[in-house]
Amino acid sequence: MLRDAAEGTTVADYSWPEPDRRGQIGRGPARLDGAVKSTGFARYPSDRNPPGLLAAKILTCPHAHARVVRIDTAAAEAIPGVRVVQVIQGEGSEIQWAGDEVAAVAAETDDIARDALRAIQVEYEVLPHFVTEEHRERAPVAEPGSERTDGDPDAAFASAHRTVEQTLGMPQMAHMCLEPHGQVASWDGDELEVHASTQAVSTLAGQFASELGIPATQVRIRTEYMGGGFGSKFSPDRWGIVGAELAREAGAPVKLFLDRDQEVSVAGSRPSAFARVRVAADEQGRLVAWDSDSWGSGGLPGAGQTPLPYVFSRLPNRRLRHTSVPTNLAGARAWRAPNHPQACFLTMASLDDLANELDLDPIEFLDRNLEFTGRADVYREELGIAAGMAGWKERWQPRKRSRDSALQRGLGVSIHTWGGRGHASNCDVTVHADGAVEARIGSQDIGTGTRTIVAQVLAETFGLELPQVRVSLGDNRFPQSGPSGGSSTVGGVSASTRRAAQDALREVLARVAPELGAAPEELAAAGGRVFVEGEPSRSMSWTEAASRIGGAPVSAQGRNPGPGRLISSGVGGVQIAEVEVDMETGVVHVERMIAVQDCGLIVNRRLAESQVHGGLIMGVGYALFEEWIPDPVTGRLLNADMEFYKLAGLLDVGSLEVHMMTGPGYDERGVIGLGEPPVISPGAAISNAVANAIGVRVPYLPLTPDRVLDALAGRGGIA
């Protein structure tokens, strides 16, 4: 127990066990729901089919900018099996992007709903559109943004030893959740239940309630499983509210999930980022100045400045200008590590080119400049480990100029950072007299393994195995816990669960202490037993101990934030890519991705590595394949499908090699989130590896064959 001097009272010592006393923490049990997911038994929100279910579909606007002149739903309403037709944006509405919702239908089957959509007559006045923000000079509206100068960049550039300058960029891309956005909404009188594919179980109810004009207490949100969000599923969205309204009007449950083209076009994108970057170093290879003139778009809202120069944020001389360019495309949403992959690519590609200009090994160049980062020691250690894994010293060569063979290999490196502090979370832990232990938490498992993490913390605290504990989540009737964003979930839920579990355990120990002839604080729980510290013979089984609590279960609530050092924030990672480029076709293949990452105390090693694998796979995707392709003619996306919106397949991602930083210096920081950091560097690392392989920078992501061939031919700059 700790004595809190200021309060003069005793506060519990909330902490993680020391390394030699960990039963669960740091182990790698498979995710608890792995079997039900991989066998198809897990019921996702889109798998819910309550009796009497109606199917709902949304009519979208085919024009990127238009006014609704007239809308006639009579023919749709007359179709047998159509139950409700709702106009979402009626006459006079100005539509600002193709795919925006105009009307919705609830019908007895999917096919009838689609027939009804086709029967709705809409007359549009088509207005001019702009969807190609790469050409900012053509934008009808470009909001001249901020300009900020620190130090004296002009003087620093004037006296610099080497300077590189070029324009780099990456387009908008989609979240492409495999389970599209949507929900099943059912009413029981004035009570609404929504099975939602969401990242925000605890906060969704209030949003539904205020839109629907009912008390939040009458909204139940359930999300047992969900098929991917990546930052795009925090709100009910208009289709969520419409789905609930259709259900209310029809008096029947309504399933409304977006079609794939809608999912790609309107349900989430990452903003583009372009920049004219100038960066300089002195003769010792130390950075002296940065100047960037950037622009980008996240659709209609435009896009803000990304954090430049990335990671090397203590560089004293810099000038940042930024222009936000609105387009007639749906608004961007938080995409896994918002703004970081863009800033990372713009920065790390520029630094890599500067290292090349200085005739320096890029790892050596990064190393010489680490004092401009916040965590030089960590990056130095990680760079060393990553270089060792890659065989960098033996295998790295300066950029090739030769075209001696069609296939050229290259290595590239990048570093990144993220916060990842645990969010506000509450958790109830209950111990029953039969020894069963349950946590109830209003969180959600968005595929990261949250359910398993909570179970491990329970099992760790009570000295049990995973099958002996139960985790109930994905329900807003459970204690509220934060949305899963910003890599904040693992810290939030592990801390609230640990505090609740430690409190509940203390209460149990207090009940059995007299029987064991010891003070409660002398007791510990491990290996399925409760015993006196240092005297394992004075013990009883966990089941016996629990039986002493009597008829009423013991329960405790834990909160985060709270006392004790269970979590912190701030992580750094290093990634190295090895690529093979076909010099004649421009086709890039990733051979290896090496990721070295810290995230404080790792609760589940396998899940942590799985998060890094997922980040690397998504990273290969946006480095090589993924982009929104808006049509300058129609303003529509030409690849709102899974055919030409290309995701990385398993044959495309190469060998993924992960090293997690653990042990002294890392573990004692507590739990830190990991979902986002590993997706930040791949674009930069792969671009740098391609530059290393082919001798020139391809200034644009994704690294498609046309862009690679253009760069090899000395063509194809941006804007």
Partner: protein, 324 residues
């Protein structure tokens, strides 16, 4: 989906009479047509499913000829050891369809007669994708995957995995119709539509592709596809070549590009250039360059010209056993 009727004839003759009625379409593996119907890109009055006609499936190698029934699935053909031994390049072409599901359901006839993937066509702007003012949406828009040999107003590309090779092999197609059977070179199955609404194939009302045949053993052949992903992806460019003669002497060569033009694109000049000479690296290079003579790339697909030369060169090297 819009209503349609469904017929499952048991014989080719029944199928022909069903298909004579306007609005009827063949349903083979369904891997493409059903998507077109669901997306309301195409409409049918009646689907005529061929799966029940046993005569249409099967592979046979006999008397120096390969015969492939049009309803043979790609996987059945891939698993046919004799066919693969006779024309190994068929295996390369089928393996390019990097999806077990598509190989299992997709048929040889369906591969040959599948509709183009042009993203304007697939979004309901028509196969020619002409704007109201008659201008080409493809020219004005994003044409990175379109034709480098546009024909007339057509700028889409022929997507078949097997057609370039079959054309290179001089294969023949057997077509059944109301007037009986006709046999045509495989390239004669294709045409460039001149007006919106015209098809990119030459099958008339009631006509049905029954089988393809090719003589085997006389030529060395190869397929080389450039694709960006190793996982399921369309080729950006494909070349099929066949070489007759006792190498390095070439008596006759045929070079055909896929994903280059609205039809399988016979690069006749490139083939002629090799005919009657010795196959050397220099001649291969000349042929590769000749294959793209007259290419007219658009704003976004210039790179495909280069890909075509690479595909032809690598295809020839592969056929000749000269791969780097």
């Amino acid at each position: 989906m819009r209503p349609f009727s469904y017929a499952a004839p048991a014989t080719v003759e029944q199928a022909v009479s069903l298909l004579e009625v306007e609005g009827s379409e063949v349903l083979a593996g369904g891997t493409d047509l059903l998507s077109l119907l669901k997306d309301d890109v195409e409409r049918v009055e009646r689907l005529v499913a061929l799966r029940g006609i046993g005569d249409l499936s099967g592979v046979e190698v006999a008397g120096g000829r390969l015969r492939i029934g049009s309803m043979t699935t790609l996987q059945e053909l891939r698993d046919h050891a004799e066919a693969m031994a006779a024309v190994p390049a068929l295996g390369t072409a089928i393996d390019g369809v990097a999806s077990a599901q598509l190989r299992a359901m997709g048929t040889v006839g369906g591969d040959l007669l599948q509709r183009p993937r042009c993203w304007y066509y697939r979004r309901g702007f028509g196969l020619l994708a002409l704007a109201p003012d008659g201008g080409s949406m493809v020219e004005a828009g994003d044409n990175r995957y379109h034709a480098i040999f546009p024909q007339g107003d057509a700028r889409f590309v022929s997507p078949s995995s097997l057609a370039p090779l079959l054309v290179a092999l001089g294969a023949e197609a057997t077509v059944h119709g109301p007037d009986g059977e006709r046999r045509v070179p495989v390239e004669a199955l294709y045409r460039t539509p001149r007006a919106e609404g015209e098809r990119e194939n030459t099958l008339g009302p009631g006509e049905l592709l029954v089988e393809v045949t090719a003589s085997v053993g006389a030529a060395r052949s190869a397929v080389y596809e450039v694709r960006q992903r190793r996982s399921l992806d369309w080729p950006l460019m494909a070349a099929a070549v066949s070489l007759h003669g006792e190498l390095p002497r070439v008596d006759r060569a045929r070079i055909v590009l896929g994903h280059a033009a609205p039809t399988p694109w016979l690069a006749a000049a490139a083939g002629d250039l090799l005919t009657g000479g010795e196959l050397t690296p220099e001649r291969i290079e000349e042929a590769a360059r000749a294959a793209v003579e007259g290419a007219r790339p658009m704003s976004g697909n210039r790179y495909k010209v280069q890909l075509a030369t690479v595909a032809v060169r690598r295809g020839l090297q592969r056929a000749a056993g000269m791969e780097a």
